[in-house]
Subunit: 413 residues, 2 copies
């Protein structure tokens, strides 16, 4: 019999109770033991549940209970999650979490503490909801040098982009529908601004490259500014627009990492992943490209990923087998201005001919694009491979010439 | 420092040496220790390799070498692989294999022996080559009741079917090209007849349902008889034809399991997986559908999956954490004649009107299909859901009425 506690009885925490209830037979048979929830930490009142007696408001009731060997942290945020997790690991309890913010900010430290104390800190649910990616990346692809990781890591923005590309919804219409369906929060900033995807690509890249990469080191750009005009130009090139997280190891060993909306050819693996699905492509030097697809969020998928980690922690008792990576010296991430990419640019111009002259003179192999209902003062083009820094400088020059840059997106294969 | 041995220096075994060579840094850092190959068993001579001194023809050189803690079995076949693996596990060594035949036939026994001896028997490479599926299915989806597993498990037949569907190759032309490209063996029976996919779906289903399912219990049908006429009729329905392995748990708890070519709607996840790629869809009751895609075979992908298991065995030393399932009492698999499916049938008939009468009278909700260049004596139709047994009996009746059944395929969503 294994006793576990849950911290936080929101969507995810209550989902864990539910998954353990409906799948108790499977879970216990796979763990080889009965698993029982004996404590739930939450500051709110839950008086009408069949398991109301398990609730406590005092963290010490869990920390000091020696009969509890595994704790699920489903509180989210950095505080007090960090201090709680640290104390639990130091007390010899394994911790399982879906808290991507905490893992992305403090993963190196918590993994080191887990190792010191011969327990496990597990976070399969932190990326991709129920879609297995952390353990496959860490264990199954362990014999590969990871060339790149590229993924649709946020279901909300994928839903919005799908609506824009497939059904010609404007950004605002698509966001409204996402909120109505419960896919987007009232304040959708973390999703549409890219912060959520950023945390996830940090976790995946840290795992793949063995050094902690922090969210503030990532070049992050959201989908707020994407318009149907951009979607149309993408279509004219045989592309769709997706918000992706991407980490690539460069020849100098540094990691180029970004979260941004990009043009993807419709034939690419990720272009076909629609609605709220998440997907990750991992390229290993031995295995080639591997693709994972699944529900990226949601109560039951996320809770099932947490319970899988709990089972794993039960089976690996007294063995610190969790993934780990080193703290970083801040020298891991390359400057995104040194990236060499292809770009799509859309400009507002008074004089189209003057704009064309500028474009053909300054950009690498530009190709002018065309769309239906294109206004007379709009011009868009794609470029060949160019240094990001060069494109940035040209953006300033553009404005000095009386042009206005409306959109700039990267084009990725 | 961990010493390992390799049994069998064919494509896979030599690939393991190569992967360890090119990715030594990554592998050893992830394992937390140096990993060194100290013995290779093969009856053939390999005198010109830089590591020729490691070869032995005597299994006892590995079995009795206490410095070797992990052995890679890349010999294939049942004998002597079974006896060797058993002896190694009993001697306290973990064994890692890509031998799907052995796992599918003797997995339950070898897993039990591994457990008794507190070592691991690992076989990620046995299904899907480098595509992670065994460990994700076992660990990441452990908190789910698995409703079904459905996959393209054989790269050779997927290549052949892709060529037939996309490029109108005949079966013979497609097979010839597959052989020329090295995707199909000279004797392609195990691939095109479905035996290879059968072993793999047995392994996945045994893992998912916790009881050993043997290949001889699986309803197996190959792609030998598929013609371009069938491909055309599939297209007329918005479908492609793929050889899939499929295991579904029925309401009575039994498992319906089969390997056969099916009609899949082009919009389905598996329909889009072409060429030699493998893919598996797993539906869990909590997580929903999860999709895995990757190179299903090949020297380096398979070898990288083996090395990942070796790393895992190193990290889990002294812990028997490998997947396991119970021996089966032969009561797990349902009789496929009791399956309720939709069917596509193609007949050779002298009298089309008489055939239509028969079809509309005897089959559930039949829809007559039509294709370009359809001969006068051919009729094809799809049915609604019907008991397989009923369709089988109608096949006999058909022939008594002077019709000839040319094709029968299942239709799956």
């Amino acid at each position: 019999m294994v006793n576990i506690a849950i911290m936080g009885h929101g969507t995810v925490g209550s989902g864990v109770v539910e998954v353990l209830n409906i799948n108790a037979d499977n879970i216990c048979s796979r763990a080889g033991q009965q698993i029982r929830i004996t404590r739930i930490l939450d500051l709110r009142e839950f008086n009408d549940l069949p398991y109301s007696d398990l609730f406590t408001k005092d963290f010490n009731d869990i920390l000091n209970d020696d009969s509890i060997s595994i704790v699920v942290e489903a509180m989210g945020g950095l505080n007090p999650s960090y201090e709680f997790t640290k104390a639990l690991l130091q007390a010899g309890k394994s911790v399982v979490t879906s808290n991507k913010e905490l893992v992305a900010q403090k993963g190196d430290k918590l993994l080191a503490i887990a190792k010191e104390n011969n327990v496990n800190y597990l976070f399969e649910a932190s990326v991709g909801g129920g879609m297995p990616i952390i353990r496959p990346l860490h264990f199954c692809l362990a014999a590969n040098k990871i060339e790149y990781i590229q993924g649709i890591l946020n279901g909300t923005t994928n839903f919005i982009m799908t609506k824009m590309v497939k059904d010609n919804f404007s950004f605002d219409q698509a966001l409204e529908l996402a909120q109505k369906k419960g896919y987007a929060e009232k304040d959708p900033t973390a999703d549409i601004g890219g912060a959520d995807a950023n945390r996830k690509i940090c976790i995946l890249a840290s795992l793949a490259y063995g050094k902690h990469i922090y969210p503030h080191e990532v070049h992050q750009y959201g989908i707020n500014d994407i318009t149907l005009a951009d979607v149309e130009f993408a279509k004219s090139m045989g592309c769709v627009i997706k918000l992706i997280g991407r980490a690539t190891q460069l020849e100098n060993g540094k990691v180029s990492i970004m979260v941004c909306p990009v043009f993807l050819p419709v034939s690419s693996k990720l272009a076909k992943i629609d609605d709220v699905y998440n997907a990750v492509v991992v390229k290993g030097n031995a295995v080639g490209e591997v693709l994972f697809v699944g529900a990226g969020a949601g109560k039951m998928p996320t809770a099932s990923a947490i319970m899988a980690d709990v089972i794993y922690a039960v089976k690996a008792e007294n063995t610190s087998i969790s993934q780990s990576w080193d703290s970083s010296d801040g020298m891991v991430v390359s400057n995104y201005r040194e990236d060499i990419m292809r770009f799509y640019l859309r400009l507002k111009v008074d004089d189209i001919e003057k704009a064309k002259e500028f474009i053909f003179e300054k950009y690498e192999s530009p190709v002018i694009l065309s769309r239906i209902n294109q206004p007379d003062d709009e011009i868009a083009f794609k470029t060949g491979f160019m240094l990001e820094d060069k494109v940035k400088k040209l953006t300033e020059e553009l404005e000095n010439n009386g042009f206005k840059q409306l959109s700039k997106l990267r084009i990725i294969d």
